[in-house]
């Protein structure tokens, strides 16, 4: 941390939005991640279920999150993720938001998601520690 932090004024916390998008009611994973992120000292905004891409964009922009974690278990990632990314670009929020996808994503879809701007895809069985470490190391530093 910088000298400002030592001066006792600045308090920076990693802010995350955990988003459930589309017709997908499986939120156990999202809840577990939200809880783990909280315990790791992050501030977690949880979107709730069945959100439209526009809602996720609205939330990500208004909450000014450093990290957007999209949980998709419906298989619709190839249509939903691009919509979210386009929305973020529209509000100039794409460049400095770390975008993660969690859930069930076939290996062959991953390169395409990453090309779009997703930083990492975490499949089932990813150790929580690994995800938290990834966020800590890659969350954009802003001031």
């Amino acid at each position: 941390m910088s000298a400002d932090a030592e001066r006792g004024q600045q308090q920076r916390t990693v802010r995350c939005l955990i988003a459930k998008v589309g017709l997908d009611g499986h939120d156990r994973g999202a809840h577990v991640i939200a809880r783990a992120f909280r315990d790791a000292g992050f501030e977690v905004v949880y979107s709730g279920l069945h959100r439209a891409p526009e809602e996720i964009v609205q939330a990500a922009v208004q909450e000014d999150v450093d990290v957007l974690g999209i949980s998709i278990l419906s298989g619709a990632h190839n249509t939903l993720v691009p919509k979210i990314i386009d929305g973020l670009k529209e509000y100039d929020a794409f460049e400095d938001t770390l975008i993660l996808v969690g859930g069930i994503v076939p290996d062959e879809d991953r390169p395409k998601l990453k090309e779009m701007g997703v930083s990492e895809v975490f499949g089932p069985g990813t150790p929580m520690k690994e995800t938290i470490e990834f966020v800590r190391n890659n969350a954009p530093r802003r001031d």
Partner: protein, 379 residues
Amino acid sequence: MSHAENRGEARVDALVSDLLDGKHRALARAITKIENRSPGYRELVSRLHAHTGGADVVGITGSPGAGKSTLVDKLAKAYRDAGFTVGVIGVDPSSPYTGGAVLGDRIRMASNVGDMDVFFRSMSARGQLGGLSTATSDAVKALDAFGKDKILVETVGAGQSEVDVVRTADTVTVLVQPGSGDDVQMLKAGILEIGDVFVVNKADMDGVNRTVAELEEMIHLRDNPGATLDSGHHGVDAGLPKGVSEHDGTHGDTHGGGARDEGADGSEDADDGWEPAVVETVATTGDGVEELVETLAAHADYLAESGMRERKARSRYAEEIRQLLRNDANALLKEELDRRGGAEALAEAVADRETDPYAVADEVFEPLRECVEARRGEE
């Protein structure tokens, strides 16, 4: 002045002009800056101040699960339908152990999907001593300067800092749910003396009438300890003389005193003609929201007509000045303390009976006092 400082200033310039231009991203970024107290945040808030004063600020508090978020959602919808723009700040507690937080108020914001003119922002109580109310009121300023007509500040009414937060609002709304305990519970919670409007939410549940009756009785007792009691019905019946301790703003340190506080200065502001209203709502269906909107409007009118709005604003600014000065002085004292080895090391010496806390405090404080006095002498 360094290059970095120049750049920082240019960034604040850009942020302020983008925010005033109505860019959502800039508003979001400004609030982040305020929350993080990033370099330049003071400059930012100072610059925004001139553009504030246009919004009606409503604070909403109540125990967890009372239905605050759902009600805020419905209120925001009602305001949007009436053509107003809305800003919402939802404050959630953070973990005292990790500092992390789950900010869940957004889940309930279902009626305003995709409507960017409802700007909802979650904030966590980051364990900043007395800083939460400062951060929140600064964030309110950002929303106000952005041009929001109505600003709703939602917080769990569980502690002093939360109570301080809603007190930065023009109108304080307290949510109560039926069957949440008897009148003694409400007295204990200390929520009675802060509310301008009381909402009994979940009014489709059992025990509503009793809760409403108990609330009204206590409001009447609070208002005019000596006057004739007029209990038995509810609604907006203005005109009874009353006193509300929070309105005069000079009791910043005493409002935690619950009933004692009320007894001590309950009759000072005899010209204060607002009788706290009790409104019944069912937030999930939207029942009673219209009445609540009307009641809030009535309170806003009352504030404007009675000059109370101005007075409240003044006392709020006075408190803000005091708070900022306290924070600054604390920061300076902390530096000074650290320079002398830190409080722990000094405590060690106190425990060993080498010195005592008063002597340490004098020693640390004396040079500061001397500086100030020397400066005063120069004037």
